[in-house]
């Protein structure tokens, strides 16, 4: 028997956690992406290289790292974040931030020199340049946002380790699919799987739409 209230709860937890982690990762990606791409500093090459490598960090490893930090004996254990949605947000952030910031660095490194030279000749301020850099290719930023959200919402390993799949609290869609399938409740698993695939498809269409729009 399909318990719709549980399904909606899992969808709501997934969307809430993924939305918050994506939003934080996006805002920090713009800030750090702009700084890293436009400023010269020692070790810049290595910072970009490390971020590039972290784009493929296995989610379980990200979950493990967050677990070690926020578990009772970890350095942030006193914050009592383990098995809360906040812990899932942090873990998802660690997975998607390198991806989003790398995409933004690549875009700004490609566009900035030309845009800066011409706008400087127009007498533009650094604020004008930043404004046009962000508004000129809105599609790039929206695509980055969608890629980050898509990765966050479909992720299982990290959120399961630090979230603990607690009913009504941290049991998101992916955790519920794994749990219900293991229990033999295939219908719930399939329903949630179909919803997750639909979200992925919508994101895919969104990315293509913004690509074409640019």
């Amino acid at each position: 028997m399909l318990d719709t209230s549980k399904v909606f709860e899992a969808i709501s937890i997934s969307l809430h956690v993924s939305f918050v982690s994506t939003l934080f990762a996006f805002l920090l990606s713009i800030f750090f992406g702009y700084l890293i791409a436009t400023k010269k500093f020692i070790l810049k090459k290595y910072v970009v290289s490390v971020l590039g490598s972290l784009t493929s960090i296995p989610p379980v490893c990200a979950g493990l790292i967050v677990y070690l930090i926020i578990s009772r004996s970890g350095p942030l254990g006193w914050m009592e974040l383990l098995y809360t949605p906040s812990a899932m947000i942090i873990a998802q952030f660690i997975i998607i931030f390198p991806i989003m910031v790398t995409l933004i660095i690549n875009y700004i490194e490609r566009e900035y020199p030309q845009l800066r030279d011409e706008l400087i000749s127009y007498g533009a301020s650094q604020k004008d340049i930043l404004f046009l850099l962000i508004t000129n290719q809105k599609g790039i930023y929206l695509t980055t946002l969608l890629i980050g959200f898509g990765r966050a919402v479909s992720e299982y390993g990290a959120a399961a380790i630090v979230g603990g799949s607690i009913d009504h609290v941290t049991r998101n869609m992916t955790a519920m699919i794994a749990l219900e399938t293991a229990k033999g409740n295939i219908l719930i698993g399939v329903t949630l799987g179909a919803i997750l695939i639909s979200i992925s498809l919508i994101i895919s269409f969104g990315i293509n739409f913004f690509k074409n729009d640019d």
Partner: protein, 208 residues
């Protein structure tokens, strides 16, 4: 003299782009910079307009800061034609002169998206954008690129009028156009000035 360069070098990432550049740009004259692809024409133009600074050598200019210039790959804003055209007005906060926009017959394209236009139409918008701002110096990097013959002829006619009252510095590949417009000519090869002279002497000495 408007701009004076003595023994200028320009390097980027340890690669020498310009070397041993000695040059006087005269006020009120039209100076044409020519040379093959990769010879350093665009870099020299950007250096003359103070967009980039020389790595070494003496540089002196009457201009206190860069002036709006036409780049070889100009800024395309993902928006309407009129937005791209008026962006300079928004930044400079000045009234703009629409003469070139109208002469190039661009009014009917005003509300179209930039990415729906041909390369030639875009180039006319970029040229009009620079010409919309009244300035007595023009820095133009290959202004005739992508233009059809009719538009190129119109560009030459318009530049012939402008040169009477302005200092023009431009890069060009086309010798015929250069001969029509130019007063002083510079030929670059591998970042060095191979030849520079006024109209009469340049084309007598020019060995190619």
């Amino acid at each position: 003299m408007m701009i004076n360069l003595k023994n200028i070098q320009y390097q980027i990432s340890q690669k020498t782009i310009l070397q041993n550049i000695n040059l006087d740009i005269q006020e009120g004259k039209t100076t044409i910079i020519m040379g093959k692809n990769g010879s350093g024409k665009s870099t020299l133009l950007r250096l003359l307009n103070q967009i980039i600074k020389p790595s070494s050598g003496f540089f002196e200019s009457n201009l206190p800061k860069p002036v709006p210039m036409l780049f070889q790959k100009p800024l395309i804003l993902q928006n309407s034609v009129i937005y791209n055209y008026q962006i300079l007005k928004q930044i400079k906060k000045h009234q703009i002169n629409n003469t070139w926009f109208e002469k190039f017959d661009l009014l009917n394209l005003s509300n179209q998206k930039m990415n729906s236009l041909s390369e030639g139409e875009k180039q006319k918008i970029f040229i009009s954008r620079i010409m919309s701002f009244d300035q007595s110096q023009l820095f133009l990097d290959e202004p005739n690129q992508s233009l059809d013959l009719q538009s190129e002829k119109l560009l030459i006619d318009l530049l012939m009028k402008e040169k009477k009252e302005k200092t023009i510095i431009m890069t060009l590949h086309d010798f015929e156009i250069a001969k029509k417009i130019g007063d002083y000519f510079i030929y670059l090869e591998n970042g060095k000035i191979l030849l520079q002279d006024n109209y009469e002497d340049f084309f007598i000495k020019f060995p190619f």
